[in-house]
């Protein structure tokens, strides 16, 4: 049974036609949290966020409070919001930016106060035309309302926020690639060390990079207390989380539900959530956390939607996007298309990723279109092993950023779950699904 009694922490306004406007935001308690935060010390605000045990909602799931505490003391520091949502089948941050941009902006201002940063930048994915317009409008309105600029609400705290448009590159979701882009360069992830922008980030200054959903949680946490947030969920996975559900389900969409107390089966089948599969088709596989995550077979549908719970079963909750692949869908074609995505989006710095993705894509394409050979299955695994030696999870790192070692996920998953389909493609000279 799905547990659906948790509060709507970040989606309380997404169903409203005018949830994006300042008037509606103020009428529904907007900017009260900022007033509260400004009456507290920055350290006290940070403590609430730490008490909430809020895990980053971008994909890596790093605790936000810890990230904040790592920010090196320096006269010049920055906060950068990662709104470059591009992980395949992830569409929750877009929803938040389009439907409740003030909530994000308020979260940014509160965080800037807690962190005492010099300035904040909101990086919005270029393809999100409406999202960009809504966030820009919200920032303009926040200045006019006195929530941004000089002496915010008479508190003696001043801040500028700049909205920065991206231009279409998945890799800019990697925080160091995002910072390079914000500096006006190609989106190349930075070589580590330094491991954390909190030490050396934008323009070499200490920088916190947080995801849109992460920061959208902050106003509620400050108003209701970090403990109230931590009381939801279980273990390390506290609070609610947005799950973007797509693929073979009756009711695809974004659902905010409590972590851990719900399972993949709840999300897919509950009438208030996914409502079951399309035409009641059997499930072949579920991609539990975005294109980079290893797939689950139908035997793992009862795994709880929690960070550690999914990790224990060899995958990751990642960006919170759940994709349902039906019994009649071709696993080879799905693996091929995801591999082509990685091949197109590889920044090209590291050989295993740049070359490996291309080889894998060509092998999968020939399997799908009729030129496949029996030995191709072993060849695929061999190339995957060169990119992420051992093919374990989490993958071994051979590259600057995690994109490369993510490439094997769909391929090894599809082979593990549907090996017969690969051999059938060889025998029948390609895909027989049409």
């Amino acid at each position: 049974m799905a547990k659906l009694d948790a509060p709507q922490i970040v989606t309380s306004r997404v169903g409203l036609d005018d949830g994006h406007t300042l008037a509606r935001y103020l009428a529904t308690g907007g900017y009260e949290s900022l007033r509260r935060a400004l009456s507290m010390s920055p350290a006290a605000v940070a403590e609430e966020v730490d008490a909430a045990s809020l895990l980053g909602r971008g994909g890596a799931g790093f605790p936000a409070g810890r990230k904040w505490s790592m920010l090196k003391k320096d006269p010049v520091t920055y906060l950068v919001v990662n709104g470059d949502e591009s992980e395949p089948a992830t569409f929750k941050d877009r929803l938040l930016m389009e439907r409740d941009p003030h909530q994000l902006v308020e979260g940014v201002i509160i965080s800037a106060w807690a962190l005492q940063v010099t300035a904040a930048f909101i990086f919005v994915r270029g393809e999100f035309g409406l999202g960009l317009e809504r966030v820009l409008t919200a920032v303009n309105d926040a200045y006019a309302h006195g929530a941004l600029g000089l002496d915010i609400f008479g508190s003696g705290f001043s801040l500028d926020v700049v909205v920065h448009p991206g231009a279409g590159a998945y890799i800019c979701g990697d925080e160091t690639a995002l910072l390079e882009t914000l500096e006006g360069k190609r989106g190349f992830p930075r070589i580590k060390p330094p491991f954390y922008p909190a030490a050396i980030g934008l323009y070499g200054q200490p920088t916190v990079v947080n995801n849109v959903e992460t920061l959208s949680n902050i106003p509620w946490i400050v108003l209701n207390g970090g403990r109230a947030f931590a009381a939801l969920g279980k273990g390390r996975s506290t609070g609610t989380r947005l799950f973007a559900l797509s693929g073979r389900v009756r009711r695809p969409g974004v659902y905010e539900i409590e972590m851990v107390h719900n399972t993949f089966r709840d999300l897919i089948f509950d009438p208030a959530l996914g409502g079951g599969t399309t035409d009641d088709v059997a499930i072949k596989a579920v991609i539990p956390g975005g294109a980079s995550s290893p797939w689950f077979g139908p035997d793992l549908l009862d795994v709880p939607l929690g960070q550690d719970e999914v990790a224990e079963h060899g995958s990751m909750l990642g960006s919170g996007s759940v994709i349902v692949i039906g019994a009649n869908d071709c696993a080879v074609r799905a693996a091929w298309r995801l591999t082509r995505f990685f091949q197109r989006e590889s920044c090209g710095q590291c050989t295993p990723c740049r070359e490996g993705a291309g080889w894998l894509e060509r092998i999968l394409r020939r399997l799908e279109t009729g030129g496949g050979r029996r030995e191709d299955i072993d060849l695929l695994l061999d190339v995957c092993d060169n990119i992420a030696p051992g093919l374990g999870w989490p993958p071994q790192q051979t590259t600057i950023c995690p994109l490369g070692p993510s490439i094997p996920s769909p391929i090894t998953s599809a082979i593990a779950l549907c090996k017969d389909e690969f051999f059938a493609h060889v025998e029948h000279g390609g895909c027989t699904d049409g």
């Binding site: 994915r125 393809e127 409406l130 000089l150 231009a167 974004v254 298309r337």
Partner: protein, 204 residues
Amino acid sequence: MSHFLPGFRLRAEGIVALYPHARSATLPLCHLAQEQDGYLSANAMVEIAELTETTPAEVRGTASFFDLFHLEPVGTYVVGVCTNIACLLAGGLELLAHAERSLGVAVGETTAEGTFTLEECECLGDCDVAPCVQVNCRFVRTTTPDAFDSLIDQLRTGAIPEIPRFGLLSRVRRSVGLAVPTEVIATERARVAAEATSNDRAAG
């Protein structure tokens, strides 16, 4: 002689002023050039280099990394069909094939009269309305061949208010420059830091 028209040049300078380092304005300025010209021309990149204190090669190097910057002229409407995983399952490849037949061009090409450019996109983040189609970075939510064709017919015969011409990424502009002088920030932050330290001492 400025490549940016006077109004655009003024906006360009306003954008540069928003950042601690001029080079950060590279992406916004490339978008601005596309808004003026409909694509990112070599002359625009020369002026962007001047504005961002870089070289035209560096601007080109950055711009060529990104899908949204077109270094050659494109149609008034850039139509993107997604074929990534959620759209693939919903028939994205089939819709893309239909779009090619319907527009009479292959992926990457522009129709003869210069109205439409067709692209195959990676996930655009509208996966609950799959397969996803965007025109000039706006979701149009035409998931069937018929709906796609009627949208194209509409665009052929006249504009649709929700869809700006290609290059105009945001119809909303920032209404203010930076409101806080650098020295005010420095003073405020130093004061709060000093208070925190003295509180620590009092507590410790």
